[in-house]
């Protein structure tokens, strides 16, 4: 049976209540008759022989690139960069796809006798991964062969001796890159393209660069002109990265891009109901829902967090392509669209969304209020192509407990951003001009980023900028069931129930509004006509 495409359901009187994610939990909500619910397509079929497919992709590259094995020579300097812990979500069951790809690359390198090989986690300004996370992403064999000899590194965007400035783009943007990567004879980048934003020139130009480079596209102006950043043709974020990609290529950095797409098989058996359509829930699904939601009510948040963060997604490899960045990414997008695209007719007044326990930046961590905002207004709001799902001046309603809680190891600068910056103002440009520089250059954040497992000081700003397009576009954001003080600090409105939230939204958008619910995860990309 081939997987069914996504569907836009119109709620009628026979429609069972709709599942809303609510952080480390979920609720069933009755949406008004006439509301629309967008369901993602079912997971596409997995590749039957992933190892074979990977080898085939490496030896039959796209675009202007020779087969990988012919690019490998004994005396060369080879660097393999890979996506960090922010992908995929939730983390996938072992073996991780990065492990499979990198083992295949290394097998070739070993056969060709390449001695000088280094692995780099392309962190950009994300937190360093723990050994445990690296072991999971790369597999123990790769980890044991590289980590003990210092050949498995994590990109350090604050180590001037390990960065090199490659020049300016035609728009005057600095291109600063990881020195080892830039000076290698070949840079192999291993991607997991979970959403349409990932990959392309963004992999190297962002993942291996520094604040000096990033500030050119991670800023309010760019993000307001990325509509959406899931659609590279209308995304200023991507235009800037592509310009940088050009500079990188002109500087003689040879990139062999490997992109992989996964199917949206997101939840293990016991949570399978989370990716089924409610009217198709069987007895097992209904009992799993009942059991887990009742159990979660009684579970302290820290324990619930542990349980959810131990979920390993059954994600399977759906496609792998390698070679020249541009053509590879075109093929990748086709695969992402095949898996995620849902056609939606027209915009809506009110967009509702249930926010899950995880975002790219809180793997094995707490989803703090800033990340709640970013997941809702940065990611889910932008899961569109064409026009935004919600009309200009519309309202977004999201459900999440939004606790006033932070992981001080992973998100130290977030705490200060929340306590000091958002307490002062939520205005994008004011925040950018008044505070960004101080946070980006703060020695303490830099210390924690370099030596601990902390996101860079400037990272919470990027989370806020990620919301820029939505903040400009919407007239109100309502959080159902959130900590009131935290929600207000974000500049949003708290509501206790969905019906209260809908009432509040009507004050803004008028009586009898159109309502659309985006039923994700699993991920989807709305093609709004």
């Amino acid at each position: 049976m081939s997987p069914r495409p996504g569907v836009v359901l119109e709620v009628d009187r026979s429609t069972p209540p709709t599942l809303f994610w609510y952080g480390e939990g979920f609720r069933l909500e009755k949406l008004p008759v006439g509301s629309r619910v967008i369901y993602p397509p079912e997971p596409v079929a997995a590749l039957a022989d992933p190892e074979g497919a990977i080898r085939h992709a490496l030896e039959n590259p796209l675009g202007d690139s020779a087969p990988l094995s012919s690019l490998l020579t004994p005396g060369m300097k080879l660097t393999i960069a890979f996506d960090d812990v922010s992908l995929p979500l939730p983390p996938m069951r072992a073996p991780d796809i990065r492990q499979r790809v990198i083992e295949a690359v290394l097998e070739m390198a070993a056969q060709k006798g390449v001695d000088d090989v280094e692995l780099v986690a392309a962190l950009a300004l994300h937190r360093r991964m723990t050994d445990e996370e690296l072991r999971h992403a790369l597999g123990e064999r790769v980890f044991n062969a590289f980590a003990p000899y210092g050949l498995l590194r994590q990109h350090d965007a604050e180590d001037p001796s390990n960065l090199v400035h490659l020049g300016l783009t035609e728009e005057g943007e600095d291109v600063e890159l990881n020195k080892r990567a830039a000076e290698s004879d070949l840079l192999v980048y291993v991607n997991i393209n979970l959403v349409a934003m990932d990959g392309g020139h963004k992999s190297v130009a962002t993942g291996l660069s520094s604040y000096k480079s990033l500030r050119h596209h991670h800023n309010v102006r760019t993000m307001q002109h990325s509509r959406s950043f899931m659609d590279m043709h209308r995304s200023e974020l991507h235009s800037s990265n592509w310009r940088m990609g050009k500079v990188i290529a002109e500087a003689g950095v040879k990139v062999f891009q490997i992109e992989t797409t996964l199917n949206t098989d997101t939840f293990p058996q016991q949570f399978r109901f989370l990716q089924r359509r409610e009217w198709e829930w069987n007895l097992a699904d209904r009992s799993a829902f009942l059991a887990s939601s009742k159990a979660l009510e009684k579970t302290p948040p820290e324990i619930a967090r542990k349980i959810f963060h131990s979920i390993r997604a059954p994600h399977a490899l759906a496609s792998v392509q390698a070679g020249e960045v541009g053509p590879v990414h075109v093929r990748t997008l086709e695969h992402v669209h095949r898996q995620q695209l849902v056609t939606v007719e027209g915009q809506t007044d009110i967009l509702t969304m249930g926010l899950p326990f995880i975002s790219p930046y809180n793997v094995n961590s707490i989803m703090n209020p800033i990340l709640v905002a970013c997941l809702g207004l940065g990611y889910f709001f932008n899961l569109y192509r064409g026009r935004p799902l919600v009309r200009e001046g519309g309202v977004v309603i999201m459900s999440h407990p939004t606790p006033w809680a932070f992981n001080p190891v992973h998100h130290p600068s977030y705490i200060d951003f929340f306590e000091q910056v958002l307490a002062d103002t939520t205005d994008l440009f004011e925040i950018e001009s008044k505070y960004e520089h101080a946070f980006a250059t703060d020695p303490w954040y830099i210390h924690l980023y370099r030596t601990g497992n902390a996101y860079h000081g400037v990272h919470p700003f990027y989370m806020w900028y990620w919301c820029a397009h939505a903040l400009n576009h919407l007239s109100r954001v309502i959080v159902v069931g959130g900590d009131r003080a935290a929600v207000r600090r974000l500049g949003f409105s708290p509501a206790s129930t969905l019906s209260d939230a809908l009432e509040m939204a009507e004050d803004v958008v008028g009586r009898d509004p159109s309502i659309t619910h985006i039923h994700t995860p699993p991920l989807l990309l709305a093609d709004v006509q």
């Binding site: 200060d416 306590e419 000091q420 250059t441 020695p443």
Partner: protein, 411 residues
């Protein structure tokens, strides 16, 4: 004449201490040594003394500490019993040449009031707060009116004061504003006592009356580069913001704010990621005076920085290793006298009157009670922050409408 009298009764001290410990500050009054009595008005101790009839008398943090039985035994020989508390007083003069004048009292009982001529060295320089003879001379021991058996105090229908202690209140100023002059003078003195504060990074710890007034005083006279205020309650946060704080943070946010604003590094301890900052602010004004606040001050002040104790401390147990290793200056700031200003020496009280008038600080008076409801009044003052109040006063005006001219309902 009605007066709230504080007797020396050890059993009651202990009882109030216990009650305060168990039920919280301000709850030891019922069992404590304070009683509302009918007493004789105090006699005039000498020629230069006048009788005063209080209009408003404030309840101060040091009063609360005394009532809770928490104050230091240090004060044992510089107060005399029984006394009538109340040193923040706006009053009418009764009798004598100044009959009918509305005045505020500068309560320190220094050489002038005690009949020493020549005065001690500090008094000679106008530094009355540092008077060396507060336990001697023509009066019983007592550092201020409100702690002396001979003068009476503000929490009564009448007291006496030396002429040198009076400052006439101008006609436009409300009683509420006038009663804030004494605490404002404390705050100005504290703000000016530190030589490091001008153009420095300054943190004010605590946003009760003294904290808020210190913010206003710093803004008016010192102009620090950055002024961070630690405030616990929403009302305090609003006031701190209004009076000129650059950043207002909660108590749990102090270390992080101090660290970030000084771009400092930090050290962890006891499972906290940041237990103390390695750099820190130049000056801390500790307007609380507890062991916790002192410890907090020491953890955010930079090496070579200064901590000014504005709030009255009691006996505290604290680790002084950081003070030693970081060469921190710890200094007190008590009362007032004469301040050196760019325009020459000025009496602190005059500066305070100007500050109160210009910043409309009378609005800080949030509740007024008649003497008879003193237990309620003191409980309110003790929980002022939590209950959204700043300054609680006794209202002794004859026809006192219990409302304060339209100021309460809009907050």
């Amino acid at each position: 004449m009605k007066a709230l009298v504080f007797e020396r009764q050890l059993a009651r001290f202990a009882a109030s201490r216990l009650a305060a410990d168990l039920a919280g500050s301000g709850h030891g009054v019922g069992v404590g040594p304070l009683e509302l009595l009918e007493v004789e008005p105090p006699a005039l101790p000498g020629e230069d003394w006048v009788r005063l009839e209080p209009r408003l008398a404030g309840i101060c943090g040091s009063d609360l500490a005394t009532l809770d039985g928490r104050s230091s035994r240090y004060f044992e020989h510089i107060v005399s019993f029984p006394f009538v508390p109340g040193h923040e007083v706006v009053a009418d003069v009764k009798g004598g040449l100044r009959e009918g004048e509305r005045v505020v009292v500068e309560p320190v009982l220094s050489c002038a009031a005690r009949g020493f001529d020549p005065p001690c060295d500090p008094c000679g320089r106008g530094e009355r707060g540092r008077c060396e003879r507060i336990a001697f001379g023509a009066l019983s021991a007592g550092l201020q009116i409100g702690y002396c058996a001979d003068t009476g105090g503000g929490w009564s229908a009448g007291l006496v004061a030396h002429e040198s202690q009076l400052l006439t209140v101008s006609g436009e100023m409300s009683d509420e504003a006038a009663v804030m002059i004494e605490p404002a003078a404390c705050a100005i003195h504290a703000a000016l006592v530190s030589e490091r504060a001008p153009s420095a990074k300054v943190l004010v710890l605590g946003a009760g009356t003294l904290g808020l007034l210190t913010i206003a005083a710093l803004r008016a006279h010192v102009s620090p580069a950055v002024l961070v205020v630690v405030a616990k309650y929403p009302e305090q946060r609003r006031w701190a913001d209004r009076l000129g704080a650059d950043y207002v943070v909660g108590p749990g946010e102090t270390l992080r704010a101090a660290r970030r604003l000084t771009s400092s590094l930090a050290l962890p301890a006891d499972g906290r990621e940041i237990a103390r900052v390695t750099g820190g602010v130049d000056v801390v004004f500790d307007c609380v005076g507890s062991a916790d606040s002192l410890e907090s001050s020491l953890s955010v002040v930079r090496p070579g920085g200064e901590i000014v104790l504005v709030g009255m401390p009691g006996p505290v147990k604290i680790d002084l290793a950081p003070l030693w290793q970081r060469e921190v200056v710890l200094r007190g700031a008590y009362a007032y006298g004469t301040e050196q200003t760019p325009a020459g020496p000025r009496r602190t009280f005059e500066l305070a009157a100007e500050l109160v008038a210009s910043r409309d600080l009378g609005e800080l008076v949030s509740a007024a009670y008649p003497l008879e409801r003193y237990e309620e009044a003191i409980a309110h003052a003790a929980a002022a922050g939590r209950r959204g109040a700043v300054k609680v006063v006794f209202d002794l005006r004859r026809r006192a409408g219990r409302q304060l001219g339209g100021k309460k309902e809009n907050r």
